[in-house]
């Protein structure tokens, strides 16, 4: 009985020590993902609010990069006056840039 109890106590003690050592090795990484309450280290929980209805783009609704032949709004009949903006407009001497033209596979020319 005494032997059994002593063995049992030793096992429980060893288990406890082992658990403490392991717990010390478990380090939450960064912030971010909550995975069952455990921080996994990836910051993604950002689903958009549900119910967004897309579309409704009228004929003059443009989103794509610019290309040749256009003009800046502040060049259009402004009589030289600068419109009021919350942002700092690009200098009038700067032309409208496009996206890169040089591809990995070659062709086009790279602008810098």
């Amino acid at each position: 009985m005494n032997i059994s109890r002593a063995r049992w106590s030793a096992v429980v003690t060893a288990a406890g020590l082992f658990a403490v050592i392991l717990a010390g090795c478990v380090v939450p990484v960064g912030g971010g993902y909550e995975d069952g309450g455990v921080a996994i280290g990836l910051g993604v929980d950002y689903y958009e609010p549900y119910g967004a209805v897309y579309g409704g783009w009228g004929p003059g609704y443009h989103v794509a990069p610019y290309r040749g032949g256009g003009e800046r709004r502040d060049e259009r009949g402004g009589g030289g006056r600068e419109a009021s903006h919350a942002f700092r407009p690009a200098p009038a001497s700067h032309s409208i840039p496009s996206i890169p033209s040089h591809s990995r596979s070659g062709g086009g020319s790279r602008r810098h």
């Binding site: 960064g30 971010g32 689903y47 794509a64 996206i99 591809s103």
Partner: protein
């Protein structure tokens, strides 16, 4: 005898628990190893450039099937704990990340592609974001190999992320078909948002002609256009401001039809945009919206005054 059997059972159970615990703890503790966004690593830095996009989806398998079928992407799956992640590749190049995330019961959220904009210092970006009216959705944190990132909501509520990539930023090259080529922010207040993003990324802001009552702004750095800002469409005045990202395609009509055949939806029918090519907006089978943009090499040119 019963006592011995009981004691023996407890002993075995304890041993089993002891030996199983290290494995469980290792899995729980394993950090998610994400691949670098640029391989081989680059020394290039392009602050303000959209350098990565990441899909958050409740069905990773269905997403892989859809995007693989639509663009020919292939995938490398990885897992840490219960987090499942897929790296999307096209011709060996990383084009996107995909993360599985359950939509909890009663939760009204929509899967989305998240836009990552390049910064040099994520913590400085957080300071600037807060100073200029943004909210922090996820604090700056470091992901091994990937870099340091944080997620914010801009002053109008649109979600975006910043990333200081450990492997440098992708070079300024024209995207191949099947790769991300463009980004736009659809927002309730383009003027104020332009000021916010300019403060964050030092963009040059170009004010482009638009229909009366609308704004169309262009953000640029390094003498390259990086994104457009647009007013919310007239028929969607109460829509939540959001970023949209566009994949380059050869034929927006055919790709839209293919998206539908693969279980997606067309949100905006293919239409000719100012640049002369067609633009369309589609959603994957789980509802995440993204754009399609036709582009030819000859279209990348500068407007000269």
């Amino acid at each position: 005898m019963r006592s011995f059997r009981s004691s023996n059972f407890a002993w075995q159970a304890l041993l089993a628990a002891l030996f199983s615990f290290p494995g469980a703890a290792t899995v729980a503790a394993a950090p998610l190893q994400l691949p670098p966004i640029v391989e081989p690593a680059s020394v290039e830095r392009h602050v303000g450039k959209v350098i990565f996009v990441e899909l958050v989806t409740p069905d990773l398998g269905a997403a892989e099937k859809f995007y693989g079928g639509l663009f020919g992407w292939t995938f490398r799956d990885t897992q840490a704990g219960t987090i499942k992640y897929a790296e999307a590749l096209l011709d060996g190049h990383t084009v996107a990340g995909m993360v599985h995330r359950e939509v909890r019961a009663g939760e009204q959220r929509q899967p989305a592609w998240v836009t990552f904009i390049a910064v040099r210092d994520v913590d400085a970006a957080k300071t600037a974001a807060l100073k200029n009216g943004a909210k922090v959705l996820f604090e700056p944190h470091t992901i091994p190999q990937r870099g340091r990132e944080a997620i914010f909501a801009d002053p109008q509520g649109a979600t975006f992320a910043v990333l200081a990539s450990s492997s440098g930023d992708p070079p300024d090259e024209l995207a191949d078909p099947g790769e991300w080529i463009w980004s736009s922010l659809i927002t309730s207040d383009p003027d104020t948002d332009a000021a916010f993003y300019q403060a964050m990324f030092d963009y040059e802001v170009f004010d482009l002609p638009a229909d009366p009552g609308f704004r169309h702004l262009m953000l640029a750095t390094d003498n390259y256009a990086r994104a457009s800002l647009n007013s919310l469409p007239a028929s969607r005045p109460n829509m939540h401001p959001h970023w949209l990202n566009y994949v380059r395609v050869d034929d927006a009509v055919k790709t839209s039809a293919k998206a539908v055949a693969l279980g997606g939806r067309v949100l905006v029918e293919p239409r000719v945009d100012r640049h002369g090519g067609k633009v369309a907006l589609v959603a994957d089978p789980m509802g995440a919206p993204f754009g399609l943009l036709e582009w030819t090499d000859a279209q990348s040119k500068e407007v000269t005054k």
